[in-house]
């Protein structure tokens, strides 16, 4: 390294230092001049703006994506709502202003003040919402007294509107105001305090697509907060629209058919897993949730014994009852416990261990083979098949058929159901499996639990030749101009663990359930289309059969009555629809559940568009 005497001695270095100093001087002069320009030349103007706090940001809500059914019928819309707000900074005497306002619009003064108190931690120039969706009369009177109400402003903002009250409420879901905790998670970068987000159903699951992006305006306001001029605008971006797989007409028909009974109906396209119908009764009016549901209404919903807030198609678990005989048949055939020629003699009961296990038909079915066992739902035949197969083999096939785990539908809180095994019982109850319990399981009455959607997926797979589909609810996601943003392809999750021969035997048995003179659902037979299905009657409470059969049935307490199942597909050869119906306390699958399915099939098949639907 060279040590050198002094920089001063070298002329060129000296010049560089002078050059740098001049540069710095120049830059500082520039900064100074800029200050002079801002503070002296423009100072007066800026001082005025700052005193009025005149330049503000006003947020513009984006309009939420619309939701259509499979035939482009609008299900969920937005409508304009007039929202009353206050800017404290401009209101002068807040109490006086709010008092006047309360008189004009005839709302309780205290309630309005409460909203202000709640929003106190915001900045004082941020508008606080006093009342959403005011009436035309209220709007008129506020507009007329605009100048007596400093700081009060009316914003027109889009509000969610569910066109068909209570229809598919559980599937579509509803909105609720975001809370401060959720805001802090940072999951909702576009959402501000006071905004609504999806709280249930599709509205929640597809929030990211539906939401859109807020816009805003830079505005100059006068001393009482009224806009003098708009300086700049950023238009909001509307959320994406959803096209569901749902068939509105069929959905409404199903809701009507259930009438005031509690329960669930799911209809699927067996060739791709599209959900055509998803009914859970009782339902609720989603419009009640907009702008916050009232305390009374919420209490009413929560205390309703019919549990309207539960989506029974995926969140309620029921014993599958005789519909489970489909699984027992599959397992017994595949494990060679029985074959097409195996018969069992049914005298109306079976002695096993020290107990007598009854068939539902106390007079007995006589000699039955597998087809008759299925079509007549002979319990004795399945007791014997179940004993041969054993509980763990039954469980293996049940799980292979998609039971005991979620179907993977894009909705929240789907339940797994329950498929018992001997190991499960050991773990859960610390007891060994009893042989008699296998008998109950074989006819779907033991610990087994399924959801109506699981049964729909299962029966669809039986109908389509063995393919398990993941239920699909949203077909396409489009932007406002109709451009497809995302297409949800149908998704295969597995196949039934059964050979074609086994499936053919099962399908033949299911066909006979409806088409045979001795079938349990023969009364729902349709003229021009063959239905294949299975009835089920799930015991809610183990009454002695004699006590509740026959004429006395009506006198059994409602809450102790059996649940009625019916699962089916149609047409039997090349099905275009698969249905699972659960009527709570409907008593008999054949009389309470099956007619609903038949009516839906009749309506669906008759629609010219669906006649042409062929397997993909």
């Amino acid at each position: 390294m060279t040590e050198f005497s002094k920089n001063q001695d070298k002329e060129w270095i000296k010049q560089r230092f002078i050059g740098v100093s001049v540069c710095i001087l120049f830059v500082f002069a520039l900064l100074f001049l800029r200050l002079v320009y801002l503070q002296i030349i423009k100072g007066e103007e800026y001082r005025l703006l700052s005193e009025k706090n005149a330049v503000r940001l006003k947020s513009i809500q984006s309009s939420r994506g619309l939701i259509f059914d499979r035939n482009q019928k609008l299900l969920v819309d937005n409508r304009p709502s007039f929202n009353l707000k206050i800017v404290l900074e401009d209101a002068g005497d807040v109490k006086e202003t709010v008092e006047k306002l309360a008189q004009f619009i005839q709302e309780p003064y205290q309630e309005l003040m409460d909203y202000i108190a709640q929003a106190k931690n915001g900045a004082i120039y941020d508008p606080i919402t006093l009342k959403k969706d005011i009436s035309r009369d209220q709007l008129a009177i506020v507009e007329a007294h605009k100048f007596d109400l400093p700081g009060i402003l009316i914003d027109i903002e889009p509000t969610r509107y569910y066109i068909y009250k209570k229809t598919a409420a559980h599937l579509l879901g509803y909105l609720g105001q975001i809370n401060s905790k959720e805001l802090k998670t940072g999951k909702y970068p576009n959402v501000r305090s006071g905004d609504s987000i999806g709280r249930y159903g599709i509205e929640k699951q597809f929030e990211g697509y539906l939401q859109g992006k807020r816009g805003g305006r830079q505005i100059e306001v006068d001393a009482s907060g009224r806009t003098i001029k708009v300086l700049k605008t950023v238009e909001p971006v509307a959320g994406f629209d959803l096209n569901l797989t749902l068939d509105l007409d069929l959905q409404q028909a199903a809701e009507k058919l259930l009438e005031d009974r509690d329960g669930a109906v799911v209809a699927m396209d067996p060739n791709n897993g599209d959900i055509l119908v998803m009914v859970s009764h009782p339902s609720f009016d989603q419009n009640d949730f907009i702008g916050g549901i009232s305390q009374e209404k919420w209490a009413e919903l929560i205390s309703d014994p019919g549990k309207p807030m539960i989506n029974k198609t995926i969140q309620a678990e029921y014993p599958p009852a005789s519909t489970y005989k489909i699984i027992t048949t599959l397992a017994a055939l595949e494990e060679n416990c029985i074959n097409i020629n195996t018969t069992a003699y049914c005298p109306g009961f079976l002695e096993y261990g020290n107990r007598t296990y009854r068939c539902w038909n106390k007079y007995g079915h006589g000699n039955v083979n597998v087809t008759e066992g299925l079509s007549q739902s002979c319990d004795v035949f399945y007791y014997q098949a179940g004993i041969k197969a054993g509980v763990d083999k039954l469980a293996k096939y049940a799980m292979g058929c998609g039971l005991g785990k979620v179907t993977g539908i894009l909705l929240e809180n789907e339940k797994d159901g329950l498929i018992p095994t001997s190991a499960w019982k050991k773990k859960r109850y610390k007891e060994s499996w009893q042989g008699g319990e296998t008998l109950s399981v074989a006819i779907g009455q033991g610990y087994n639990l399924v959801t109506p959607l699981q049964m729909a997926v299962l029966i669809a797979a039986v109908g389509n030749g063995g393919t398990l589909y993941r239920p699909r609810i949203v077909k396409t996601i489009k932007d406002g101009s109709g451009l497809v943003i995302k297409k949800n392809e149908s998704e295969i999750t597995g196949g039934l663990p059964a050979s074609k021969e086994t499936l053919d035997i099962v399908r033949n048995g299911l066909l006979k359930v409806v088409q045979d003179e001795r079938g349990t659902a023969k009364r729902i037979r349709l003229k021009d289309v063959e239905i294949a299905g299975k009835t089920g009657t799930a015991q809610v409470y183990n009454l002695k059969k004699e006590d509740k059969r026959g004429a006395e049935a009506k006198e059994v307490k409602y809450s102790l009555r059996d649940h009625a199942w019916f699962v089916c597909y149609a047409p039997a050869k090349n099905p275009v629809i698969a249905i699972s119906v659960m009527v709570e306390h409907g008593e008999h699958g054949s009389s309470a559940a099956a007619p609903i399915a038949a009516a839906l099939i009749a309506q669906y098949i008759q629609e010219p568009a669906n006649k042409k639907v062929l397997p993909e």
Binding site: T2, N7, L31, L38, Q39, G43, K232
Partner: protein, 374 residues
């Protein structure tokens, strides 16, 4: 052995300047954090900043203990250490505001990209001090500095922190221009830089592009940066000649201003103290910069001279970019104002910088055998 001459030559003037600016900074910060706060309690960030300032002074004193000429010897070590920290940011770093910039050491959160500025200045001073000449540098001599500069630049831009990355390039560029390039090299490099602009542009993240576009056309983002700039201009302009008075700034009090205690802090000064207050601060900064140049000019050791120049350049660019941005002369980039903005890493880095300046200044007495290098 402590040389008594070190005390004698101690640069009290610069210390006084730093102290005055630091006190002004605390005053503005106090106002920025207290205004609009009805409880009147001293803000926790204000206390934190005091702690940082204290820590900064300690670090400055530690830096004074080391002879700056020793930095020449350990320059590669310091440089590699900082690169190591930058890499560990990529691996273990904490994410904040969409980028990964911070490293948690114990309970202290540091921003290695800040320290990198100092390390790079030391390394460049070390390289250039061996090859400076009146004819200027040729391309071959520029290879090593270019490599030294581009490695940290890449790592920082990757975080992504474009502001600090560009600041690094500006500092390195200033030093390089200062040590003089061959005329031919200068022209070609300028050409390359111009040609690289489109290339660099295509490599930018969309939010970075939009910031630059917003600067060129504030109407592009009227709800974000455009709004910040408007509010910042209103705050500054409304201060007029004499200001609204301490703690009386309304723009600030109503939290119209985002980041008013960090990057936008000078608008608080401008609003409350007006043109007079701002002019005093600008003047103080101007004196600090000339003081730095003077130290560089008077240093008898080429390494020390370039080092002092580099530190001065760093402070200059921070001041210029920050104030320019707040007054709407530059795009919105997150560069803190030296000694004034809230922030631990910024305080420490600047104190290290000033420590080095003081160090060079006080060890610049006439040649003594002990200090002559072969």
């Amino acid at each position: 052995m402590f040389d008594r001459r070190l005390i004698k030559h101690f640069d009290w003037g610069l210390v006084a300047l730093i102290f005055i600016i630091g006190m002004i900074g605390l005053g503005i910060l106090y106002s920025a954090l207290t205004a609009g706060n009805e409880t009147g309690a001293v803000h926790v960030l204000f206390k934190k900043q005091m702690v940082w300032m204290g820590a900064g002074f300690m670090v400055m004193i530690i830096i004074l203990m080391i002879d700056f000429r020793d930095l020449d010897k350990i320059n590669l070590f310091v440089y590699s250490l900082c690169i190591g920290l930058l890499i560990s940011v990529i691996v273990f770093g904490q994410i904040g505001g969409g980028s990964r910039r911070w490293l948690l050491i114990g309970f202290i959160r540091i921003q290695p990209s800040e320290l990198m500025k100092i390390a790079l200045i030391i390394s460049l001073a070390s390289v250039y001090s061996t090859c400076i000449s009146e004819t200027g540098l040729n391309f071959r001599k520029l290879i090593k500095p270019a490599v030294l500069c581009l490695i940290p630049f890449g790592l920082i831009v990757d975080q992504p922190d474009l502001g600090t990355g560009l600041l690094l390039l500006l500092i390195a560029g200033s030093i390089t221009l200062f040590v003089k390039l061959e005329r031919k090299v200068l022209y070609i490099l300028s050409g390359i830089c111009l040609a690289a602009v489109p290339l660099l542009w295509s490599g930018l993240k969309s939010y970075q592009k939009s910031r630059i576009l917003t600067f060129l056309d504030p109407d592009r983002d009227p709800l974000g940066a455009g709004y910040h700039i408007i509010q910042s201009k209103i705050a500054i302009g409304s201060g007029m000649l004499a200001g609204k008075g301490f703690l009386k700034g309304t723009q600030n009090a109503l939290s119209f201003l985002p980041e008013h205690h960090t990057d936008f802090i000078i608008s608080v000064l401008a609003e409350e103290w007006g043109l007079m207050g701002c002019s005093i601060l600008l003047l103080l900064y101007f004196i600090v910069l000339l003081w730095g140049l003077n130290i560089a000019y008077n240093c008898r050791n080429m390494f020390g001279s370039i080092l002092a120049f580099g530190i001065t350049a760093m402070i200059f660019w921070e001041i210029f970019i920050n104030i320019g941005m707040v007054m709407g002369l530059m795009p919105v980039v997150g560069v803190p104002l030296p000694l004034i903005s809230y922030g631990g890493s910024s305080v420490i880095t600047n104190m290290v910088g000033f420590g080095i300046l003081l160090n060079i200044s006080m060890r610049n007495f006439s040649s003594n055998k002990n200090y002559i290098r072969p």
